[in-house]
């Protein structure tokens, strides 16, 4: 169990993060703030994918699809009523007259994404092996095609634009905290332990009385919910959303973050997301002065290759740093398989 001092450490870290944001908003320009916003969104994405891919060992590539569902739902719900009729002719009247505030819209977006994942999870997760990867790959395309062709509701390939700039660092930070808290609570609960058990040995987990299908579907849904919320945050940070906003490339980017951080490690995903989304930006001045573009991507690929060769379990493996883990103080812990 957590000791009191560990709880204090967590609260201290959360407050320190808040203080950091306060300072950043005070002193940094819009550009750096928007990057910080995207860093936060990537943290949410990586940690939530870690719940699906890392904890439970389901190889899902569906995050972009869930982001698109969440993002569009949220964007339509918060779209200013006076422009809705003109832009979105196909909306039913009750929806055309609704304009929700940001938080409930995000929640509903997340719930829709979770619902979408339930639809795909129920049939597919009965199967063993890597069927989920292929199926979720398909979901990305299905969602894109649906959005492209539901012109009256989504404005087709043009996408929705001129969304209100609702996302700021506080919103992102709130959801980062919720995601981390949820991830942590899950990992060190009996529910999380059954997820890890499924990952390590399905047969053994089954014999222990773990309901495989239910646990897997739940893991997928938790990940999808948070991805949906992240999609909503994304849409209102970019202030535009199109069917192609969330592509397969994004799915791989998030998977890479999880792999580099260590599948199953929340701290790892968090750090990998922060490092990866900032590295490409850090190389920009160099790219612009040399007039050679793409250096950041090459460096990232190199890091990925090196990590896969020399540390295939990722930076943290499945563990969290010892001083943050419950139960033990100094040693690394948190694996079911060790």
């Amino acid at each position: 169990m957590y000791t009191l001092s560990q709880r204090l450490v967590f609260i201290g870290l959360a407050l320190a993060g808040g203080l950091l944001i306060l300072l950043m908003r005070q002193f940094l320009n819009d550009y750096i703030l928007s990057i910080a916003g995207f860093v936060g969104i990537y943290v949410i994405l990586a940690v939530s994918l870690n719940i699906t891919n890392g904890f439970t060992g389901l190889f899902s590539l569906g995050h972009p699809a869930f982001m698109a569902i969440g993002g569009y739902t949220c964007a339509i719900l918060t779209f200013p009523v006076q422009r809705k009729g003109y832009f979105l002719s196909g909306l039913p009247d009750w929806l055309a007259g609704t304009e929700l505030s940001f938080f409930p819209a995000l929640l509903i977006g997340g719930l829709f994404a979770a619902l979408g994942s339930l639809l795909i999870g129920l049939p597919v997760l009965r199967l063993r092996g890597h069927y989920l990867a292929v199926a979720t790959l398909g979901v990305i395309i299905i969602v894109q095609v649906l959005i492209t062709n539901m012109g009256g509701i989504t404005r087709g390939p043009l996408g929705l634009n001129g969304l209100p700039t609702l996302t700021n660092l506080w919103w992102v930070y709130l959801w980062v905290l919720i995601t981390l808290y949820l991830g942590w609570k899950l990992k060190f609960s009996s529910f999380g332990r059954s997820m890890l058990a499924i990952r390590e040995d399905e047969m053994a987990a089954d014999c222990l009385g773990i309901n495989l299908l239910r646990t897997r579907v739940q893991a997928l849904m938790v990940g999808a919910f948070l991805a949906g919320v992240a999609g909503g945050l994304w849409a209102h940070l970019v202030t535009a959303i199109t069917p192609k906003s969330f592509s397969l490339i994004l799915a791989f980017t998030i998977v890479v973050m999880v792999v580099v951080g260590g599948s199953g490690s929340i701290t790892g995903s968090l750090l990998a997301a922060v490092i990866f989304s900032m590295l490409t930006e850090a190389f920009r001045p160099l790219e612009e002065s040399l007039n050679v573009y793409g250096i950041g991507e090459i460096v990232l690929s190199l890091i990925l290759i090196l990590i896969l060769i020399y540390r295939p379990i990722g930076l943290f493996g499945t563990s969290e740093p010892g001083w943050l883990s419950p139960g033990k103080r100094k040693s690394l812990s948190g694996t079911a398989g060790d």
């Binding site: 703030l33 928007s34 634009n161």
Partner: protein, 381 residues
Amino acid sequence: MWRKTCLSIILAVSVLAGQAQAAETIKLGALYNLTGGMSSIDAPALRGAKLKAQLLNEQGGVLGKQLEVIGYDTKTDQKAAATQAKKALSDGVVAGLGYGDTTFVMAAAPAFQAKGVPFVTSGATHPELPKWVGDYMFMAPFGDDDQSYAIADYTYKVLGARQVVVWTDNSMDFTKALSKFFKERFQELGGEIILEDFFMMGDKDFSAQIARLKNTSPKPDAVFISAIPNEAGLTVKQIRESGLDLPIVSGDGFDTELVTSVPGPELANDVYFSTHTYRGDDRPEVLNFIEEYNKAYGRDPENAFCPLGFDAVGLIADALERAGSTDGEALRDALANTKGYQAVTGEITYARPSGVPVKGVSIISVHDGKYNVEKVWYPEY
């Protein structure tokens, strides 16, 4: 670990902040997708833009200062477009330019609008773009409606076609809009659309559409193909190979060497398309641009997006001179009052409330594999 996080944050921030602002230049932020799927369109546009700045600087710059075009790579990623727009603004650019595609303009331009800094798109052609973004948004190219109207007028009045077939690439918004505007105008003129057919980007075989084209009655007088370059060459080749010799008409998606190189000079016949007044043109601006481009980069301009990037910088520089200052509002007003600016891609005037330029559209014909400018069409306003 937290120490590491903080350290890397500080590191990144200091690297970014270390990009010290060089004084005494007028900065323009050029947002383009220099890597990723859009780079074949956007990278040449940035080269065109930088060339214009270089030429202006050789003649003493703008308002007595050197013009600096900073390229921002947005990686064919809307997220990057949104952040780089903010980065350009915090770098203190006096105006933004960029993109050959509406999607990315919509991610970047609203940030400029919010800060009261003008943004000129070099290649995005959706006619409602300025309406969506606001009064700080300008287009260097014509709108899609104008190019469709131009070719519809030509098809009806000059080619004398009354019944046409329309083929549309149904996978892109641009091609769908092109067909929509063409049909609208052609029917307004009194023509008739006797068949509509569809294909998808990447299709290689058009035999089904060609069979339907052959079997329609009454016989069509022309076929309008709304396609992007890849399908432009293929459709011409396959239609001619099937023995059909009716005129093929299209928009600027056909403005590519592929229209002649894929079918070969014998089959590339009776093709007409509307496009930016650039290809096959012998105005001094065009010849001079091609010469300078060769001097700077050692090759011919890759496509029409090169001169469009060139013109976007030209438009801004021209407005800066007339405004006499780099103030956003003054620059916006000067841009909005642009009249008869002699751009490489045609004369540009902002006279319509829509913010879409009144600009000539070339009708180019292809006979025996040779491009020839038939006429320059001007929109009425």
